[in-house]
Assembly symmetry: C2
Homo-oligomer: 733 residues x 2
């Protein structure tokens, strides 16, 4: 029987209605995130499928199951046009829970009015899927009805109306060696009421265990009572922290673009300056940047202008946040924020003028709720041009003895240093180019922490990835009211009375499928290698000249091409310094250098120091090497494995790489982990000033020469800007 | 006889005229750079002094000899007011050459009409002072008159009219173990003519040696002839690189401040938001930031508002750029750009709209020419507020089950995820604060390279120091026209036909006299120390609870206070990770934590790999450890020693530290070196896209809590900005 006939009538009518509305819409880009209509279709197909009859059925992950890479590349760059577009599938990958099992389904939604289940499998291994928002709220509502908890709260002198609970993944800690079969989580409770910052007022010592499938409390412990930290000083909301607003108040300022924005968004495709890329949204990864290509201003040998591939698909694959207190209530706090919570699921609407400047545009997203119904997530990603006041490139030439002209504010020639007055048309103004870049931003507020995740595109061809950490610390209640009272290792900093901010790490791991000028790349280390010269040896071919000089040492580059995955793992803190380059071994510049992009670390280069056999380390084993390279594989997306909750480390980036596969001249993927050892300080409380780190993907012999050489200097061909603001002075520049 | 009577009449009249003009002017801040009047007075006093009768006399360094630190602190923070202001000296430190010797003089210019020489000494040690601009131009003019050079040029088929020469310091390479007594330098020549980028067209193989004191050629070698690289493709000037202007063209944008600028400049004192600092200018250091203090919005225990000390004096002490080719023409290129050339001397006027944005203000400087006459250096430093679109801090709270409100663009409440519609006054807009910072910038174009040196002040209390590298590569002419022809180590990258960009390093060393809440500080390493737990041991005092948990490892902080200079040297690439903190051991927060500022590296953390006994490494031995701490000493300013040209390493940062002085609870100074191993790529040619790195000095238990907690949220108390530009749309935010 055709699938459609099996849909219950209400679902069928709903699907038809949605399809009718969608009938006139243009076909989506093959990498577009699933629309509300498609999510509705997925839900209908799954609920109608006889392959998963158990109820209730909860949706834990629904995301685009993207078409095969060669087909997407053909669509994007192959010029196949209309024909290939119709051929590309639209399907979803679903992880649903039913009957105590995790079900993996692929659903065809190419025609939203007649979706069909393509495949089904039951997960037999360790771990569980992402937790839903609804079950977290439901679990958080259980404790107040649990008599032992009521007693614990009363004993601490707290009003139950002020209590709020949240779900914390339980991780995996071995035990009998078998991964748990129960989908449990811990529930911890806090005191809100007088503050929004309930994280600062934990009911320390109380731990509940909830079976999420049964939605019942299956464990309870009230181990020890500590004073609940007071509410005063913990709230960050403006109405609570002030007045008086005594903090620093810079003058207001805004970026104004007299010709309007310079970027264009077509559906999910962004075009700006010399860049073009696709922006997607996924409930686990959040922002997904795909098909990023750059336009080369220099024509090729045949005179053709070229759009050149740089990044096929990039996204944050995991955020690992292990805490460093081995005590009962803290030892298991070893979060995998993407796999356990979902970065897209915990991204919230960006605030115009706060999270993003006035000249930003916004993109929405959709995700599936626990019941499979689509939820609209507004303002998930913003895109804006940044005028930072920085310089793209410059040079002042002072070497011409009779031609150095010093200009004053009005560009009038002044006296040359020590020389007579000259007028000269060699204007120094020609030798500066101000920098403008494009930022695509998402903010993930995964519980207490806020991660500002930026993709910054530069006209130089670089892509800068920046992680900015802010939000709230997780703190532990303690009897200590002053640092002098701390007699032994407190595992954190005393940031306020009775409040210890526990030490922890952050590891933000990027999946970066670089396709430098094409898919087959190699990973090259240009290793800075010191050479000590023997005074008597003829080390260089230029020996007669070189041997004559008294220089005793220098460094040169020893170039190593990684053959297999083991060669592609780099600890940035150890070994010899090196430039790490993704090259295209089949493409060279006119000078014969392999085209490439290199990785330039930008702060936050910590790596894990946990013991290799420690359980959280086993679940995120990849975080001892900041840089890893694997061969491309469609299924290898999630560094913590497909099922992160209670995972045992058998799936994921480290596990895949144990196969030590070939990575030379292959379609390879870069994995880069931005790491920070976070020793908290009082400034981080009650909310933390932003701390940033990241990396730059920088063209390295990708272009024949500086790609900005032929950009217009300031003032050429454009009148200077003449802007004014209501109530303020007119400003002409 | 009084000194005044000894001045020759012309000088006396000049001094009196200047003094008369200055008579009505307010007294300078004790750290203000020497004014034109004061420089004139210095010149008069030196030339009139019988202590240095030899002629010619050339001025190589004239800078402020600042008053003793306790007096300056008393002036700035002591509230002594008028009385102490009159008591503070104004004097200059001078290094002049005469009679083949280097003379050090201190000159009192408190009264510019009657300056007096306070002290005089002849330098007996190794090395020579900064080269003057005039002698470099004079030396560069010698080769065309030298017959062997005329022949070398003719033989290479070059037109002498296109030839331009520049001076390169000769360094020191031992030899007989005695430092040279002749003040020689090498002169290298290039071909300009069809290009402004003469560095790209060297006359490779030709080296001249010039005795700068005699201004005569004393050495010549034409070792080998290589093709002169062609001019095509080397010019970066707009008129030469295009049209067509095919490069990326972002939309124009400008920062508009409807209430005007938020900073005020009073002479050389800058006040902005919660910061106040003094900006000076020195011909060797360039920008000098002094007396940087931050206003603490939280009153102290007694209710008093406080301005708190952070940085007494900060500046770039040296920029070391060693090249990595041991051949005759390159082995000695091991520049010390501050000591040999002078960063202030080689800073050129900033271009409005290019180097600095439209809302910048500019500061001028003065320096002494070779003849001692003051030269006005316009637009040396710019100051501007940056509206980068970044976030200062934020938090979105999603934990309240019935209160999460999602706002749309128009700030209307939308459906809560899965819950009924609610309206709630807990506006999420309150939990974001956009970031505004203040940048003080100078650009040093030391020959081929341009260094953009930024001091960025943040309202969070951080100071970010950023070095941005751009400008031109030094290249070597070669017979190679393609990389395939390169059969052995070329010591660089073939970036164009016949053009090898030689490998090199950049080490930018900052002198940062942090005075965290006062002068006596200590240097603390908060070392991230892994703890592996023995399953049977009771390691923690919380033993009963901790031992029960299956967590096998964690890290804690082992705090080490540096006792002596050896303890204060840190290699960022080796050893255990640590937070590096300057603390005030006598000041604690209310919670009992020592107030401090920590050093957060931001990329560019390379350290030298040269052999310890190699001559350039001996002259800049400090660059193997990115972080160093010394006790404050007035004379310890220049990391490469007072006399950098042909220095032998006996003076300077590494030499001072060998005394291994006590640095605990002392007035200590941080020295931080930003380092980069530069493997050139074709994008760096003919001019390099900016590459940045640096560090953040970040408050660490300096404040009781986040200092931005009481800043106003967006929209409060201020109408949103309503700006428009001529010819464009009106924009309301």
């Amino acid at each position: 029987m055709p699938l459609r006939a099996m849909l219950p009538l209400p679902l069928l009518l709903a699907a038809l209605a949605v399809a009718a509305a969608a009938a006139g819409a243009p076909r989506p880009h093959p990498l577009d995130p699933l629309s509300a209509a498609e999510l509705t279709a997925v839900r209908a197909a799954v609920l109608a499928s006889p392959l998963v009859p158990a109820r209730p059925l909860t949706f834990h992950y629904v995301g685009l199951d993207e078409p095969d890479k060669p087909d997407v590349l053909s669509y994007a760059y192959g010029g196949g046009g209309g024909a290939s577009r119709h051929a590309l599938p639209r399907s979803a990958f679903v992880i649903a829970r039913a009957g105590g099992e995790s079900h993996e389904l692929r659903v065809d939604v190419a025609n939203a009015s007649s979706p069909s289940v393509l495949s089904h499998a039951v997960h037999r291994g360790a771990g569980f899927p992402t937790l839903t928002l609804e079950e977290q709220f439901a679990a958080g509502a259980l404790p107040p009805k649990h008599p032992p908890f009521v007693e614990s709260v009363r004993r601490r002198g707290v009003d139950m109306d002020d209590v709020l609970c949240a779900v914390f993944p339980v991780g995996w800690f071995g035990g009998d060696g078998e991964p748990r079969r129960s989908r449990v989580a811990k529930v911890l409770c806090f005191v809100a009421g007088a503050t929004a910052n309930f994280y600062a007022r934990p009911l320390e010592g109380v731990t509940l265990v909830v079976d999420l499938d049964r939605m019942a409390i299956v464990g309870y412990r009230d181990r020890v009572a500590y004073p609940v930290p007071k509410a005063e000083g913990t709230d960050y909301r403006a109405g609570k922290a002030g007045p008086p607003y005594a903090g620093p108040a810079p003058a207001p300022g805004v970026v104004v673009q007299p010709e309007g924005r310079g970027f264009h968004i077509d559906g999910h495709v962004v075009r700006w300056a010399n860049w073009e890329f696709h922006v997607g949204f996924d409930m686990r990864a959040g922002t997904v940047i795909s098909l990023a290509s750059v336009h080369d201003a220099d024509a090729d040998a045949g005179g053709a202008r070229r759009r050149r591939q740089v990044l096929y698909r990039g996204f944050v694959s995991e955020i690992f946040v292990p805490y460093m207190d081995p005590v009962e209530e803290w030892y298991y706090r070893t979060f995998l924020d993407a796999g356990e919570y979902g970065l897209g699921l915990w991204a919230f609407p960006l605030q115009p003028g706060g999270d993003c400047p006035a000249n930003a545009a916004y993109l929405d997203g959709h995700y599936s709720g626990q019941d499979g119904r689509p939820v609209e997530a507004r303002n998930m990603i913003c895109v804006f041009e940044r005028y930072s006041g920085d310089v793209a490139w410059r040079h002042t030439e002072a070497g011409f003895p009779n031609q150095l002209v010093i200009f004053d504010h009005e560009q009038k020639a002044l006296r040359l240093r020590g020389r007579r007055r000259v007028s000269n048309s060699q204007s120094l103004a020609d030798s500066v180019r101000p920098d403008v870049s494009l930022v695509a931003r998402m903010v993930v507020s995964a519980g207490n922490y806020d991660y500002i995740l930026d993709w910054e595109f530069k006209t130089s061809g670089s892509i800068k990835l920046v992680v900015s950490l802010t939000g709230l610390l997780e703190v532990k209640a303690t009897a200590y009211a002053h640092a002098d009272e701390v007699a032994q290792d407190a595992h954190g900093t005393l940031v306020a009375e009775n409040t210890i901010a526990v030490y922890h790490d952050h590891y933000v791991t990027y999946h970066l499928d670089l396709d430098v000028d094409g898919t087959n790349n190699s990973f090259v280390k240009n290793i800075v290698t010191a050479v000590v010269r023997d005074a008597d040896a003829d080390a260089d071919a230029d020996a007669d000249a070189a041997a004559d000089t008294p220089r005793r040492s220098y460094w040169t580059v020893r170039r190593e091409v990684a053959e297999r995955e083991a060669d592609g793992q780099v600890d940035l803190g150890g070994g010899a310094p090196a430039d790490l380059v993704f090259v295209n071994p089949g493409k060279k510049t006119r000078m014969g250098n392999e085209v490439g992009y290199r990785v330039v670390p930008g702060g936050a280069t910590a790596a894990s120091v946990l013991a290799d056999d420690d359980f959280p380390q086993r679940r995120a084993a990849y975080c001892k090497k900041q840089v890893r390279v694997t061969p491309y594989s469609r299924s290898e997306k999630w560094a913590s494995g497909l099922y992160a909750d209670q995972s045992t480390g058998g799936d994921g980036l480290a596990a895949w790489s144990e196969r030590d596969r070939a990575i030379r001249g292959e379609d390879i993927v870069l994995w880069y982990t931005v790491g920070l050892h976070h020793v908290p300080y009082q400034e981080d409380f009650p909310v933390m000033p932003t701390l940033s780190g990241g990396l730059e993907l920088r063209p390295s012999n990708f272009f024949e020469r500086n790609p900005l050489l032929t950009t217009m200097p300031i003032g050429h061909g454009r009148p200077l800007v003449n802007c004014s603001c209501a109530g303020g002075d007119s400003i002409s520049r």
